[in-house]
Amino acid sequence: MSAMCTLNPPDLELSPFEAGIQDAFQDLATDSLMSLRHAAKARFDVLGLPKPRRQEAWKYVDVQGLSRRSFSLPRPKGVDEAFVEWIYPKACRLSMFNGRIYNHGTCGMVQPLADAVIANPERLARLTHDVHQTDDALSLLNVALAPEPYSLHVPAGKTMERPLEVVIHHNKASNSFPAFYIELDENATADVLIRIKGDKHSVGSTYVQGLIHVSQAKGSRLNLTVLSNIAYAGYNFFNTQAVLAEDAQLKLFSTALDAEHFRHRMDVTLAGERADATLNGLSILSGQNKTHMHLRLTHAVPNCTSSQQFKAAIGGSALHEFDGTIFVLKDAQQTDAKQLSRNLLLSAKAKAFARPWLQIDADDVKCSHGATVGQLDEAQLFYLQSRGITEERAKALLTQGFCDSMLSDTYLDAHVKRYFMKRVHCALVAATI
């Protein structure tokens, strides 16, 4: 028996963040999602907060900064419907303001998940099963604690007539747990745009821990666009988890424009033959921004296709990280997968880490991956200058072109594209000064 037995040795003391989590875990919501919430809590307790020193995927993420801030749930009351600028002229609209969600108008296919699972207990069982599989601890905070996760469920053969547009915004330091569970039945189609935006006048730091859970049945198609455009102090962590059945198609586009801390972990599993996933990303960073695009794409069955292209234009002393792995499992013959990370350094102190990775256990596959990190192309620069365009202007044009080509290469809707073009331009101005 030891003579000394300190209950709380200093190095085991909980950070304010962890203490806040434990407090919040004390009274999990007692809604119809209770079993799911408890499963997530239990899994979180096993995994613990990410450990940057030991976990490669967290090495460059500012978990320390995060753990120093306080953790609290958004207040249950006080939904102020703030002014929101919508991109789609017609859409099913949800907004989240300082952590509380507001449903603008009715859309049959969109409802709180707690309501949706009542008639569909199998769905709850499946979600609970997924929780046990996850290795990303922060996503579990969302599952356990999100005050009001939403469901988008498109029945077989149906097309959502209007896209779902979500705006998440803040005007003061707050925490939010936006959660969207997208379920597409056979041959259903949907378009979803999720935008996180900052408010110039807000101060203090926000913490957004978002979750997009996607399950796509045979032949379904989903366009999913995520834009993080936060120009003030804040942590924006998103998890997208998608499983595609045969012939399903997912197009995911993730953008981080001038976001202080942004991490998007995308887990996509192609679980049915001929499923197809296109994952694209565009990040523009300035100042001390940190953006992390973390991808895990799994080809679990034969004959699926996937393509990833992530671009980043990095200014200031910002850091961009691309960490993407394609897993091709043993049975996944005839896989066609490609992955590319392109990083443009706009200043001497800008940093880019790119780790494109392939893990192939099948033998008959077509896979390619690559990464580039560099400055503007000299030949292009000279070409423009040789036409009378000044060096400064030529650089701006090429940088804009680097980013714009990502927008025009993608399937984006015209409204979204126009909005993005403007934002990209603003973010670039910030990145190049």
Partner: protein
């Protein structure tokens, strides 16, 4: 006699941190003249063209280049272009994400502004551009694409001459504009170039083939080898080269091929 458009005197130049390529080039081009430069691969034709347009990969060791009497070498590439020097690239560069029409307008306005004229907005410029398209028989749809991106070899060359038409340079250097063009395109592009020539401007045409010179008839033909002008003659020199190759010239100069 008026000031020559271009006057090169004993120009020696090298690749930055690399070998010497040009070993003493002198030539004078007067307004209204077209000079052809021919010569074996690697002789320095593109190097000379790039040096005239201010390419940063090359360094002048000695010699002088006057453009309209002004020291060209002290100008940056973009300043030279605005002053009226134009290079049609042997290998035009693709610029994804930059719209061709926007690019042309930017280049046009840069020059207009430098010459103290009004810049044009997109709508007004479209009219200017539309008037230029027939010169190279180019379809309007190429304007909506990214600069040279995915253009065929011949389309890129046409796009070069379209830029020349838009910028109306005093001195145009066409570096193998004929390579990559099919027979019909060659006739069209050469016809376009001829339309752009006038008594006030001048042109250097770099080519390997006499065929281009049937359309763009040179006043003077220079043969460049090993970074030097071995021989200068009239258009009949090009015909001689076509039938006899370069060896006899190299031997005459005491050089071996």
């Amino acid at each position: 006699m008026s000031t020559p458009i271009l006057q090169i005197t004993d120009l020696h130049a090298k690749v930055v941190d690399g070998p010497t390529i040009l070993n003493g080039i002198s030539l004078t081009i007067n307004a209204g003249e077209t000079h052809a430069i021919m010569g074996p691969n690697g002789s320095g034709k593109s190097t000379l063209s790039k040096i005239l347009s201010g390419h940063p990969n090359f360094e002048v060791i000695s010699g002088e280049v006057l453009f309209l009497g002004q020291n060209l070498l002290e100008l940056e590439a973009d300043e030279r272009a605005r002053a009226g020097v134009f290079l049609a690239f042997q290998y035009p560069v693709e610029i994804p994400g930059v719209n061709n029409a926007d690019f042309l307008r930017l280049a046009y306005n840069a020059k207009e502004k430098a010459q103290g004229r009004e810049e044009l907005d997109a709508v007004a410029f479209k009219d200017v551009l539309k008037a230029k398209l027939p010169i190279v028989e180019m379809a309007e749809e190429y304007l909506d694409r990214a600069v040279n991106e995915g253009f065929s070899g011949g389309e890129k060359k046409r796009n070069e001459i379209l830029q020349m038409a838009v910028l109306e340079p005093r001195l145009a250097v066409l570096d193998e504009t004929d390579s990559g063009l099919d027979i019909d395109a060659l006739r069209i592009v050469a016809g376009g170039v001829n339309q752009l020539m006038n008594p006030q401007n001048a042109m250097i045409v770099v080519t390997h083939y006499q065929r281009l010179l049937d359309y763009i008839v040179p006043d003077v033909v220079h043969v460049l080898a090993h970074g030097r002008i071995l021989k200068t003659g009239d258009k009949s020199l090009a015909l001689d080269l076509e039938s006899r190759g370069y060896d006899w010239l190299l031997e005459e100069a005491g050089l071996t091929a």
